[in-house]
């Protein structure tokens, strides 16, 4: 049986989070009453003209900077001609041959892969090459009902970035990682909310399978209607299997577009190359070409530290593991939270704080289905808590109990420790007294210890902890006992 090679390229549409639309002042607003965020421009009324929203250009160029793209000096607008009821002008303003960004890449991190695939990453450290990023206007929304089709033009004219990758991916897992990583970067840059469920990020997949010995790529099959990152993964798995089976049976694959049916878990043919559109692109005469250099210079300052850069810095500066750094950098607010906690008192080891953030804070947030923004625990309070543990004021188990309370009420550790009476006794005078009592009451045990049974020490420490109702610092107790018995 011959082996097959899969080649995948992704086209991602990401809605920019500008306040107004791309070519008119209408608000971009998800979920507004239908057709209330419209004007002559985005309705395509006779005589209306587009005027560029500079913020959309800035955000796209910033995206290009984050993804290491090149921005040519001049970028222009083209009309893409096709008829569809949700497209008011029956042409779409887009960028055909002079996009805002060229080249670049999306880095894939371990954590961006599906959980079950993180241990078997085929190409660690892979950066998926990009072809281009261009800007275009979104269309309206059609809702098909039994009585006819309803049209809502609120979305028409929303700025959309189209991010096109090279055919540089090999597996469904890489596609999954690509989308997660890209989403993370877009959110980091504050350019898009990139929520696939809300349609703020949409993805078409181009996929082809060919026998290993064949040089040229197989027939390009485009997949549409992929509404989540996991749907992309499942659809690719399905499609690789389907195309491979076709080839096995000796069938010839033809260039076509297929629709993913998420419920049935399969793809269905929409159209073949023969019915492909001729979009008759030509330069839009209503908009002037964009001179990018001044915008590019301005946006350099706004380029944020990227997730992978942050990771590297966390490993370097805070001595956390690469995995932990990945978790902490996965979301910018979390990374900021962590760094604030560290900065609150730099004597507390950052690595310890990282453990608390990852295990306790994220654990509690997940368990209660909350986000960081909902958290009542402040970075300063967590630092304080970890400091208390480090100084031996409270035990680790007590600290977990304190955290529970902090998470629930937002109280400071100092208050909770007081309330719970968790203050550990480290005063050696008081501990000596307790030790003396235990030694005096258990001569047989003392004898055992002196005969060489070290375990007795643990037993005696336990007794002292009990008589101090857990407040004695076990480390100090051990030291004192050893001194007295030794």
């Amino acid at each position: 049986m011959p082996r097959y090679i899969t080649t995948i390229g992704l086209e991602v549409h990401a809605q920019l989070n500008t306040r107004s639309k791309m070519f008119c002042p209408c608000a971009v607003e998800y979920g507004a009453e239908p057709n209330t965020r419209t004007c002559p421009v985005c309705l395509g009324l006779p005589g209306a003209l587009p005027v560029l929203n500079l913020a959309a250009i800035e955000k796209t160029i910033l995206t290009g900077l984050m993804l290491d793209c090149r921005t040519p000096d001049i970028s222009k607008w083209d009309r893409k001609n096709y008829f569809y009821p949700d497209m008011p002008k029956n042409y779409q303003l887009t960028q055909f041959d002079q996009p805002l960004c060229i080249g670049g890449g999306v880095p894939l991190y371990e954590l961006s892969y599906p959980k079950d695939a993180q241990k078997t990453i085929k190409n660690p450290g892979k950066v998926v090459k990009l072809t281009r990023i261009h800007l275009e206007e979104d269309v309206g929304k059609s809702t098909h009902t039994g009585a006819g089709t309803l049209l809502d033009f609120n979305r028409a004219g929303t700025p959309l970035m189209e991010i096109v990758s090279d055919p540089d991916l090999e597996t469904a897992e890489e596609a999954f990682a690509y989308l997660n990583s890209l989403r993370q970067i877009l959110i980091y840059g504050g350019v898009s909310e990139a929520d696939m469920e809300k349609g703020q990020m949409r993805c078409d997949v181009n996929i082809s399978v060919r026998p290993e010995e064949q040089k040229e790529l197989g027939a390009k099959i485009e997949l549409k209607n992929l509404n989540s990152v996991s749907a992309v993964r499942r659809a690719i798995h399905h499609e690789v299997a389907r195309q491979t089976e076709c080839l096995e049976r000796g069938e010839k694959l033809v260039q076509s577009t297929r629709r993913w049916d998420d419920d049935r878990g399969e793809t269905q043919l929409m159209r073949t190359k023969e019915d492909a559109h001729d979009y008759r692109y030509f330069p839009d005469p209503d908009l002037l070409p964009i001179h990018t250099s001044p915008i590019l210079e301005r946006m350099r300052v706004h380029k944020p530290e990227l997730p992978h850069e942050k990771c590297a810095r966390f490993v370097q500066d805070y001595a956390v593991s690469a995995y932990d750094a990945n978790v902490l950098a996965s979301e910018k607010p979390l990374a900021n939270w962590f760094e604030q906690a560290v900065a609150a008192d730099t004597k507390v080891p950052a690595k310890k704080i990282a453990n608390w953030v990852i295990n306790e804070l994220l654990g509690h947030l997940n368990a209660s289905n909350a986000t960081l923004a909902d958290s009542k625990v402040t970075p300063q309070a967590l630092n304080q808590l970890v400091a208390d543990v480090e100084l031996g004021k409270i035990s680790n188990n007590q600290a977990k109990e304190v955290f529970e309370e902090m998470f629930a009420t937002g109280e400071t550790p100092v208050t909770i420790i007081k309330q719970k009476g968790f203050e550990q006794v480290s005063d050696s005078g008081a501990i000596e007294k307790l030790c003396d009592e235990v030694i005096a009451a258990n001569p047989a045990k003392v004898a055992e210890f002196k005969a060489g049974n070290d375990k007795v020490l643990n037993w005696m420490t336990g007794q002292i902890m009990k008589s101090s109702s857990g407040k004695a610092n076990p480390k100090v107790v051990g030291d004192v006992l050893r001194g007295k018995l030794g």
Binding site: G47, L49, P85, F282
Partner: protein
């Protein structure tokens, strides 16, 4: 005499002196329209009552206070129809917003009054392509007023409008102005905002005034020109390459001594009606006697103009007119079963033959496999034509030609020969391709079948040099009597 026959300047003088009121003007105008419009068919619609209300509250201290201005029916005036001479917009469309020129004229005190006939979507040279039938030339009702702004021209020449707005994509202001014995100005591309003008060919369209005198054209231009935040291609006076002009009437009355006027030999080649050639040559002599220096120049790529224009304009139009699909507004076919059928039927019923011809042409030249051979090549030709003018303007200040090589033709004369009509645009389309300003002024009459038919002289200016253009046209106009003649 009816106030309808007067100019903006004379009415403003009378208003300021309180000899008349704005309501008097509207009343006289309405009476003239009622009498003359059935024969001329210049107005498609008008709202006398609302115009009268506007006149009653008009502020005559404003520069255009109380002056009614007629609109070509492809410029949006809120609450009014905007048919573009097409069946597709005859029903189910009322303008929901004011074009920028509408706003500007309102702000200057003018009263938008009346919707004027035009070739469907401004495609044509006669108004015969209007879905509502042709307008008539006031000088000979058997003849066309020119087009596409033929209704705007017919109304002014027939003294049933004071002044009107037209739009000019390949000569649609200047040619009807010439055919009707008027002044028609197409400003430099970018001078007047296109926002609210229903687009035919976006890179060529400009709105401009159609008036009885050069002075009126300058007065209107004062209130039309200027950068508009709604039109990215509009330019502000005083920005890069645009000389700041605060008042286009300022240079009127100044002499044209030593002005260098170029006569492009390609525009005086064969194909010009002999009497038109004669009238234009007499105008040249007149200008010379006013002190201008005349020299022959060459614009070698003139011959590419028509072909270039009839590739680029339809290409842009094919996309611009795609929005007329009967989904959101406009004509909607009845009884269709699916969306494709709806498109075919609604557009098929809504558009007339010339519009369909140009959409097909434009769609064809943009199609994959033909794009380079047609569209790209035409863009290169456009550059050559523009470069011709740039080179010529190193030597001269103004270029002169006939506006049209032919006199107004009889209605129906070119019905079966669209190409003959296209070729008659040869002297006007090149300016649109080069983005240059041009003005047509009356330069005499010729006799055809016992009727006196007006002849137009075209003056072409450097980019943004409307001022020199208006000064030259005004000097010539004032030295002649042509503009004082009215059709009987």
């Amino acid at each position: 005499m009816s106030l309808a026959s007067e100019t903006i300047a004379s009415l403003r003088a009378k208003l300021t002196r309180k000899e008349i009121t704005p309501v008097d003007i509207i009343t006289d105008l309405e009476a003239a329209i009622i009498k003359q419009n059935p024969a001329l068919h210049a107005y498609l619609s008008r709202d006398f009552d609302s115009a009268k209300r506007a006149a009653e509250s008009a502020d005559i201290t404003l520069p255009l206070g109380g002056i009614p201005i007629g609109f070509k029916d492809n410029i949006n005036v809120r609450g009014e129809p905007c048919t573009c001479g097409s069946k597709i917009l005859a029903e189910n469309y009322t303008a929901t917003y004011d074009a920028t020129v509408t706003t500007k004229l309102r702000n200057a005190g003018a009263i938008p009054f009346g919707r004027l006939n035009c070739d469907e979507f401004a495609m044509g040279s006669s108004t015969e392509n209007s879905a509502f039938g042709p307008s008539r030339n006031p000088w000979d009702h058997a003849r066309v007023p020119g087009g596409s702004s033929g209704g705007s021209a017919s109304a002014v020449a027939g003294d049933i409008a004071i002044a009107t707005l037209g739009s000019d994509t390949g000569g649609s202001i200047r040619q009807p102005a010439a055919f009707c014995g008027l002044v028609g100005l197409k400003p430099t591309y970018g001078t007047v905002s296109r926002y609210g003008l229903v687009a035919f060919a976006s890179s060529l369209d400009q709105i401009g005034p159609m008036t009885k005198t050069v002075e009126d054209a300058a007065i209107l231009l004062n209130h039309l020109a200027g950068k508009d935040t709604h039109d990215s291609t509009s330019l502000s006076q005083g920005s890069a390459g645009v000389s700041p002009v605060s008042d286009f009437t300022a240079n009127l009355g100044k002499d044209i001594k030593n002005l260098r006027i170029g006569l492009p030999k390609e525009y005086f080649a064969e194909g010009i009606h002999p009497q038109i050639r004669d009238r234009v040559q007499q105008a040249v002599k007149q200008l010379e006697s006013l002190g201008a220096n005349i020299e022959e120049i060459s614009l070698p790529h003139t011959g590419l103009g028509i072909a270039t224009y009839y590739i680029l304009a339809p290409a842009e139009a094919s996309a611009n007119l795609a929005r007329f699909d009967g989904v959101r507004y406009g004509h909607r076919a009845i009884g269709t079963n699916d969306v494709l059928e709806h498109y075919f039927a609604s557009r098929g019923e809504g558009f007339g033959p010339e519009v369909k011809r140009r959409i097909l042409l434009g769609t064809y030249v943009l199609s994959s496999g033909y794009y380079d051979a047609y569209y790209i090549k035409a863009q290169k030709a456009r550059t050559l034509i523009r470069d011709d003018f740039s080179a010529a303007f190193m030597k001269v200040d103004v270029i002169l030609s006939p506006t049209s090589p032919v006199p107004p033709f009889r209605i129906g004369e070119h019905r079966d020969d669209p190409l003959a009509m296209y070729l008659a645009d040869a002297f006007t389309v090149t300016l649109n391709l080069a983005g240059l300003p041009g003005i047509s002024v009356p330069c005499g009459f010729i006799e055809e079948e016992g009727k006196a038919l007006p002849v137009g002289l075209q003056l072409i200016g450097k980019p943004h040099d409307e001022s020199t253009l208006l000064r030259t046209a005004h000097a010539y106009e004032q030295a002649t009597e042509w503009h004082k003649q009215h059709p009987r």
